[in-house]
Subunit: 348 residues, 2 copies
């Protein structure tokens, strides 16, 4: 049985959902890949950087934390974040800290430190896709390590893997997506009669919107996703600030209702295409027929149409995901890594 | 430069679309995989079995056939179909003959002869998925050769590859799909006022339906697709005759129009789920709201929702495919094979 040591950066909802999947999969991983997962370190804002000198199994960590809110058998690490990533004994680093939309830090530095110290990096944070992505990808190639990020857009619904692994020989010419559930939810509430403030409050109460919802309402979240998809698929080098961006803040409820009475829904749409040989992306508030597939995206669901040269247009729709699907995205990246190692004998 | 020898069984529209893609990709294949494709044999109903003793490049074959309707520098093969597959020097056999819904033959024998003689098999024919699939898959394992079939359902839209390669660790619990464009087209024509016979004639004139449309109208095509997906994903062993099956033959135009006036569309739906621990599939004519994603599937488009344990429900939609997308499905299987050989050094 091979031990695979994992380092968690961040321990929020996504990390905990991932941990729960790991805890439930211990015997599967042993049977299928001959691997025993241990967690050797966790960094959190509240608890600081902790090492598990003996390594802790996902099940033991999950059960102890669920029961006590504390980490089992851990010791503090005295050093900064980069040292923690570099020096904690680990095979794979999971970057699960919150996104900083203006610099991508500290996630970019975390991922690069992981690769530089010979570790694979799996990121749930879009930062490394929208700031310095090309360089980070090169670093992974040079280090002979994997840099994976399936869960950054549409949770675990396989969009990056679909293009990379299932559409060989295809070129992505553009995409159109409804990728932000906060704005979707608020627009639908308003169409049914709510005022903007009331719709926002409801969204917050139902867990569709964060306390500070401005990143969603002003289109930053959509711009980040647009930039990430463009950088990975269209060889762009854009940051969210370079994406032309609509938002829905202060939108007039009467207008929304009038459109609805004419059979029209509003959707905040991420899209990109090639113009004059260059990839151009934008986030636009669009009027769409209410019987269109875009209008049918409700709640936490999202949809992405990928335009390709050889295969035409393909749409992937994710239905009513919860945090479990975000956790699955991290897990699917881990399994991809394990499968590649089993097949190629490369890697660690 | 490595030569990869290909044998074509069938030379209809899908085979010709695939050939055109191969002809356009010669330099890509040389640069990316160091491979030069040659075609060493073609079997067609009209021209019999032909060998190309020197091998012919896709471009030369395509250009000569487009100009003259004849094959270049070929000689007849004197022997039966199985001998042809076994003895024609080839690395990959492409099974592209028409489907036989009652036995799957001769496609099943073709694929097995290919594997038994040490060749990879890529099938556009659903036969090998719905008759003896489990045994054929075992034969491929034993031979250390690949048996791939992405284009059999939803053309080249990656559904089989999505589940196998992008949803690791997930179990498929069921699926629901709108997968037959002939019935879709006719139902929509009738909703707009046409009688059944008139709608069928229009479908035939526009190329949505074949001269003998009974396999589509009576749900056999949908039943074949349901059986194929169940056998591959749900470890079933069902043939189309075992699938409960609705059709649309003789459906009343007035009923269709009345439903439409109430905002309801009809769709012939393929679906499967696990019941009492066993996979059960059916083809059902369903009433769906006209603003649902199912009703939004028009023309040649199709849609498939895959229900999984860890990742929930994911839908893949293919928009307005032509025969080019069927050809791409075969091409994507070929590239998968080339990539795996490049990565693993296994195979030929």
């Amino acid at each position: 049985m091979k031990e695979l040591k994992c380092l968690f950066l961040g321990f929020g909802n996504a990390a905990r959902a991932f941990l729960r999947i790991l805890a439930d999969s211990e015997s599967d991983l042993a049977c299928t890949y001959g691997v025993r997962i241990t967690i050797t370190g966790i960094a959190t804002r509240r608890r600081g950087r902790r090492l598990f000198p003996a390594g802790v199994t996902p099940r033991a960590l999950h059960e102890h934390f669920a029961a006590t809110g504390e980490f089992l058998d851990s010791v503090p690490f005295h050093g900064d974040a980069t040292e923690f990533v570099s020096r904690c004994p680990a095979d794979v680093v999971f970057e699960m800290t919150p996104l900083n939309v203006t610099s991508g830090e500290p996630a970019v530095s975390h991922v690069r430190a992981a690769l530089a110290s010979g570790k694979h990096a799996i990121s749930a944070n879009k930062g490394p896709l929208i700031f310095g992505f090309r360089r980070t990808r090169e670093l992974a190639m040079e280090a002979g390590r994997r840099f994976l990020y399936e869960t950054t857009v549409m949770d675990g619904a396989p969009v990056f893997n679909l293009v990379e692994r299932c559409l060989p020989g295809c070129k992505v010419l553009g995409f159109t997506g409804v990728l932000n559930s906060t704005t979707n939810y608020i627009l639908d509430c308003m169409a049914q009669g709510a005022e903007f403030d009331q719709a926002l409050r409801t969204a917050q109460e139902c867990g569709f919107a964060e306390a500070d919802a401005s990143l969603d309402l002003e289109g930053w979240d959509s711009a980040c996703k647009t930039a990430a998809l463009m950088n990975v698929w269209m060889n762009a080098e854009v940051s969210p600030a370079e994406i032309r961006r609509d938002g829905i803040s202060g939108i007039d409820a009467r207008t929304v209702r009038e459109l609805r009475s004419k059979g029209i829904s509003l959707r905040l749409v991420c899209r990109a295409s090639v113009q004059d040989g260059r990839p151009v992306g934008e986030v636009v508030l669009l009027e769409v027929p209410e019987y269109s597939e875009w209008a049918s995206v409700k709640g936490t669901s999202s949809l992405l149409t990928i335009r390709t040269d050889l295969m035409g247009d393909i749409t992937v729709t994710e239905h009513d995901p919860t945090i479990q699907q975000t956790g699955y995205g991290l897990y699917s990246d881990l399994l991809r890594l394990l499968r590649e190692e089993a097949e190629n004998g490369t890697g660690r």
